[in-house]
């Protein structure tokens, strides 16, 4: 373990801690950490709070450098961070503030099936999902894209998949940004990015990505749960994946070009991985154009993965996905940069909101949400680790005023990958999960399982409780895993 962080933290209330702007030379705004005392003990075990302070030094950053309770150390930017920059005040865009897996995100699909109805079919279902969904390191799928087809996918996002017959129009309405960001510019993605993107649409990947069959085991808010079409003992499916090799390549290309551009714009930062360029610069515009292609790629990818999931249910249960009620609850991005309007110092401003390991959490009445979520706020999906619960939350108006409409994204690691592998030496994580919790695990590699073992993560419930108690989102329902497909 790396040494403890010893910087200044001021307690604001039970759920918020401040890193004062005076903590470090160059900070333009204070840092705010959302955490309780228990989580804070883990947070200061690495240098993540220092990274929150580093982000507070970015040109044009507005109001606060924010950290969610699942914050942990990342390269350059911490994971679990939110930063908004003002394009009119020299604000920057940073590829590192989005991350390599651009639009890594989660979608939740609900069903009309209850646990009792499916109990004896879960094993064949997991086997069918495992064979039907390409997963693992560098996994390639059966969807091959020509460069022309890729360009179309980069612009259309999830709609591209729906037009191919992989889903319905309603799926798009239940996807953040309708499953595509405007102004994607396919000419800004490199040849290498095209090459890596050609074979990976509709693949899960490896690492922390997964597909999980779950059951709703607790409802916290009956009223909103009903609006989200969620009920107790209902079977749900959660899919966690991103833009695959295409997104990694886009990020990689632009971190490199921005490292070079920083001197030109006279930007000095403590860590090259924070490399950035003004939003209103050719480099900034180029990255934004390419980043949007990758965001759209990820939405198309998750749409394809959901389609494969529906096919697996149809094959095993012998009924159409429509009659099984397999409908999308929502799809959220948790590695992305988007332009959103907020009130800062009494003025409405269009800001560039970087969310790296943070989820959008718009509240009721937000004009960007479709009619069905106007009363409830946006569904927010928080995956837990392999052995534990996941959560469905709803966004709040308070998130919009405090955190640029953002909340946490997951559990957050407490053990490094190698520490987790060491802790799991000689153990069979899949067998343990089956024997102790009845969870069926299907995975391509044993080392991924060891890296992603339950004890490698913080307990997601503590993270969810902080965002709920701080009011930046609201608990709606809890899901327990029945079966997991891992890369």
């Amino acid at each position: 373990m790396s040494e403890f962080w010893q910087g200044t933290l001021e307690k604001v209330d039970d759920w918020r801690y401040r890193i004062p702007v005076t903590y470090k030379a160059g900070m333009k705004v204070p840092g705010i950490l959302y955490a309780d005392e228990t989580l804070l003990k883990d947070i200061v075990r690495d240098k993540a709070p220092e990274q929150v302070a580093n982000v507070a030094c970015l040109p044009g950053i507005v109001r606060h450098s924010l950290a969610m309770p699942d914050i942990h150390w990342g390269y350059g930017f911490c994971i679990g961070g939110v930063a908004a920059t003002d394009p009119e005040a020299g604000g920057v865009i940073s590829p590192g503030g989005v991350g390599y897996d651009i639009n890594c995100g989660v979608r939740l699909m609900r069903s009309e099936i209850t646990l009792a109805e499916i109990k004896r079919r879960i094993e064949p279902l997991m086997n069918r999902l495992f064979t039907g969904i390409p997963a693992g390191v560098g996994s390639k799928g059966d969807i091959r894209l020509s460069a022309r087809e890729e360009r179309r996918l980069f612009v259309e996002g999830a709609r591209w998949a729906v037009n191919k017959g992989f889903g319905s129009g309603e799926d798009l309405e239940c996807t953040e940004a309708g499953g595509a960001l405007d102004d994607a510019d396919p000419s800004q993605a490199s040849d290498r990015a095209y090459e890596r993107g050609a074979r990976q649409a509709g693949t899960l990947g490896s690492g922390n990505h997964f597909l999980e069959v779950q059951v709703v085991d607790e409802i916290y808010d009956e009223d909103i749960a009903r609006e989200f079409r969620i009920f107790k003992d209902q079977v749900t499916v959660m899919i966690h994946s991103g833009s695959r090799g295409f997104g990694y390549q886009v990020c990689d290309d632009y971190v490199k070009s921005m490292v070079r551009a920083m001197a030109k714009y006279n930007i000095q930062l403590s860590d090259k991985q924070l490399a950035c360029a003004p939003i209103k610069s050719p480099e900034g515009a180029a990255y934004l154009g390419a980043m949007r292609c990758a965001a759209n790629y990820a939405w198309a990818n998750r749409q394809c993965l959901m389609h494969r999931t529906r096919e697996a249910f149809e094959a095993v249960l012998g009924a159409s996905w429509q009659s099984l009620g397999l409908l999308l609850v929502y799809d959220v991005a948790h590695n992305i940069a988007k332009f959103e309007t907020y009130t800062v110092d009494g003025r409405r401003k269009k800001l560039c909101v970087h969310r790296k390991g943070a989820t959008r959490a718009f509240g009721p009445g937000n004009p960007e949400l479709p009619a069905r979520f106007q009363r409830t706020g946006q569904p927010v999906i928080i995956p837990g680790d392999m052995g534990s619960h996941s959560f469905l939350l709803a966004g709040t108006v308070k998130a919009e005023t405090e955190t640029f409409g953002s909340t946490c994204h997951g559990a957050g690691r407490v053990l490094s990958r190698s520490a987790s592998i060491r802790a799991c030496r000689g153990r069979h994580i899949d067998r343990e999960l089956l024997e102790t919790k009845g969870i069926i695990v299907r995975a391509t590699g044993r080392s991924t399982l060891a890296e992603e073992a339950p004890e490698a993560y913080k307990d997601v419930i503590n993270v969810v409780n902080v965002v709920h108690n701080a009011g930046i989102s609201k608990r709606i329902a809890r899901m327990r895993p029945l079966g997991v497909v891992k890369g």
Partner: protein
């Protein structure tokens, strides 16, 4: 030469520290270290070869670019690289011939997917009697 490379611990990500008697030795060991994290190299036969040429502004950037090129070969061609012969090399450029084998599920064991080589905490320094480098990966 004692140790060629070792893993670095970080909560979310991981990296390697590599050592070498010369700069080219260092770069070779960094490459072996990276691919040892990706796969079990003991079952990889060096039957496919590729030529690589990299030019950069300084030795840190050169190391990142070298590893990026190797990772690119793995990501697109699926070749697990296990042997690295660096020919001509300066602090700003290198030419190398690298060898490996295309991934076969029945023959090879993959470990971790490395998404990218980052600039975070990047170091290439001359230590007593040799060279030392630190590289953090995003995985």
């Amino acid at each position: 030469m004692e140790k060629r490379y070792e893993a670095i611990e970080h909560t979310a990500d991981f990296g390697i520290r590599a050592y070498g008697d010369s700069l080219s030795d260092l770069f070779t060991n960094a490459a072996v270290g990276m691919f040892s994290s990706i796969a079990d190299l003991t079952t990889v036969d060096p039957i496919h070869k590729r030529d690589i040429s990299v030019t950069e502004t300084d030795r840190e950037a050169l190391l990142v670019e070298w590893l990026r090129e190797l990772l690119y070969l793995f990501s697109t061609d699926g070749i697990i690289l296990s042997r690295f012969d660096i020919g001509h090399m300066t602090e700003r450029s290198l030419k190398a011939r690298v060898y490996g084998e295309r991934y076969k599920q029945e023959k090879h064991t993959l470990h971790t997917e490395i998404k990218a080589v980052t600039y975070h905490g990047l170091e290439v320094i001359q230590a007593k009697g040799g060279w030392k480098a630190q590289i953090i990966f995003d995985a």
